[in-house]
């Protein structure tokens, strides 16, 4: 088995919201550093030329009619990966923060050293590659501690969106992915489904435009929201809706109507 896995179909999911001027570079970099990955850019209701720019670089483009937020964008990518039968899907943010030169390394780790189901690129297992702001470090440390305790696995960078996952991860995330600030919860979701997570040290760029999506008032909401869902998640008997259908045949897409026939959902409505 070669490290590059030539027999596997691989997809890079690039969520992008108004990333004109940056998304073309991201797509080009993926083509250059990981030529065996197909690229799907999920244009999350951009009002600028993001979609056209990505298309011009040869990426597949999925355009949302309006902005859904990062969770919805990434999940659209996973749904596409599931529908099109990809074996491996990576997330590479459209703002240029993630260096696609690490993709082959993440991919290799997915198949070696204990067979992980998801490999996360971590800024905090070595040199982050840029100066991570203090507030961000502290927030990240809190989540890292909580997750390390809950999963009994060393998690150092739970807010990193630079990840790669296999077919099992794709199937899970296509039917259940957190809405906003999804990265931390996605790790718990994987853990709850007994999928294995590994980390690989990576360097990242400072955000492409310097404008982070998380400013002060939002970071308070971020912390509160994620901690709340971690806490509530501890009391869920089944980690995801539709889990009774977990043994559905591989690759069968989950239709929205399936929720209505799920006995647990139906029972809750009464």
């Amino acid at each position: 088995m070669s490290a590059q896995q030539p027999d596997l179909r691989k997809l890079a999911i690039v969520p992008a919201y108004n990333e004109e001027g940056m998304v073309a570079r991201v797509v080009r970099d993926i083509h250059r550093h990981a030529p065996d990955f197909d690229v799907v850019v999920v244009d999350d209701g951009s009002t600028d030329g993001t979609a056209a720019e990505a298309r011009a670089e040869g990426a597949i483009v999925i355009s949302h009619p309006f902005n859904l937020g990062i969770g919805g964008a990434v999940q659209s990518g996973f749904k596409y990966a599931l529908r099109e039968g990809y074996d491996v899907a990576a997330q590479v943010d459209g703002d240029g923060q993630h260096k696609s030169s690490y993709l082959p390394e993440l991919l290799a780790k997915l198949h070696t050293g204990g067979k992980a189901d998801m490999v996360c690129g971590s800024r905090f297992r070595g040199d982050p590659g840029y100066r991570v702001p203090l507030g961000r470090r502290i927030g990240n440390l809190i989540f890292a501690l909580v997750l390390t305790v809950l999963t009994r696995r060393r998690i150092t960078d739970p807010t990193s969106g630079f990840r790669i996952t296999n077919r099992r991860g794709i199937e899970l995330f296509a039917r259940d992915y957190p809405h906003d600030y999804p990265e931390v919860e996605a790790i718990l979701l994987l853990h709850a489904h007994r999928l294995r997570i590994h980390e690989v040290p990576v360097r990242m760029n400072a955000r492409g435009f310097g404008r982070s999506s998380i400013d002060y008032p939002r970071s308070a909401y971020y912390m509160a929201k994620v901690l709340l869902s971690i806490f509530v998640g501890l009391f869920r008997r089944r980690p995801s809706p539709l889990d009774s259908a977990a043994d559905r045949p591989e690759g069968e897409p989950v239709t929205p109507g399936a929720a209505a026939t799920d006995p647990d959902r139906a029972a809750q409505r009464t």
Partner: protein
């Protein structure tokens, strides 16, 4: 908490009732989130209301101080005023949210109608041929002006 409430004296019963209401409110909100019937973003809103109520119930002096500050003679009236204000803000917030949902539903319906039309046009055009080429389709999509919808906060 109990000790604090007892310390306040006269209105201990009111405080206990407020505590119970707060606890029930928090419990219901958490249970709704657990069952995935309530999104975290709204749960946090209601939990903030519950915590505010809790603080006012436990810390009696606070309500009196606030009423003094804004010139209300009966502290209970200050509570009513605050409750009215909170409810007003919540309702306004939901009106905004509902408006956005309505706008999004409209856009979705229009998109579905457009896709349906394109699909029919393609299958009618090419009953034997392959219909419109993908290049044509993506060109049409690029040319279309999407109505700008405000990003979610």
């Amino acid at each position: 908490m109990i000790a604090l409430a007892a310390h306040a004296g006269v209105d201990t019963r009111v405080q206990i009732v407020a505590l119970i209401i707060t606890a029930v409110m928090l419990g219901v909100v958490l249970e709704l989130v657990r069952r995935r019937r309530l999104a975290e973003r709204y749960a946090l809103l209601w939990m903030m209301v519950a915590v505010a109520l809790l603080i006012l119930a436990v810390w009696k002096g606070l309500l009196a101080d606030i009423s003094n500050l804004i010139g209300i003679q009966v502290p209970a009236n200050a509570l009513f005023l605050a409750a009215f204000g909170v409810i007003f803000i919540l309702l306004l917030h939901f009106s905004v949210a509902v408006s956005r949902l309505g706008e999004e539903a409209k856009i979705l319906a229009q998109e579905v109608a457009r896709l349906d039309h394109d699909l029919r046009a393609r299958s009618e055009n090419g009953a034997g041929a392959n219909g419109g080429s993908p290049a044509q389709l993506s060109g049409a999509e690029q040319g279309e002006e999407r109505p700008p919808v405000g990003a979610k906060d």
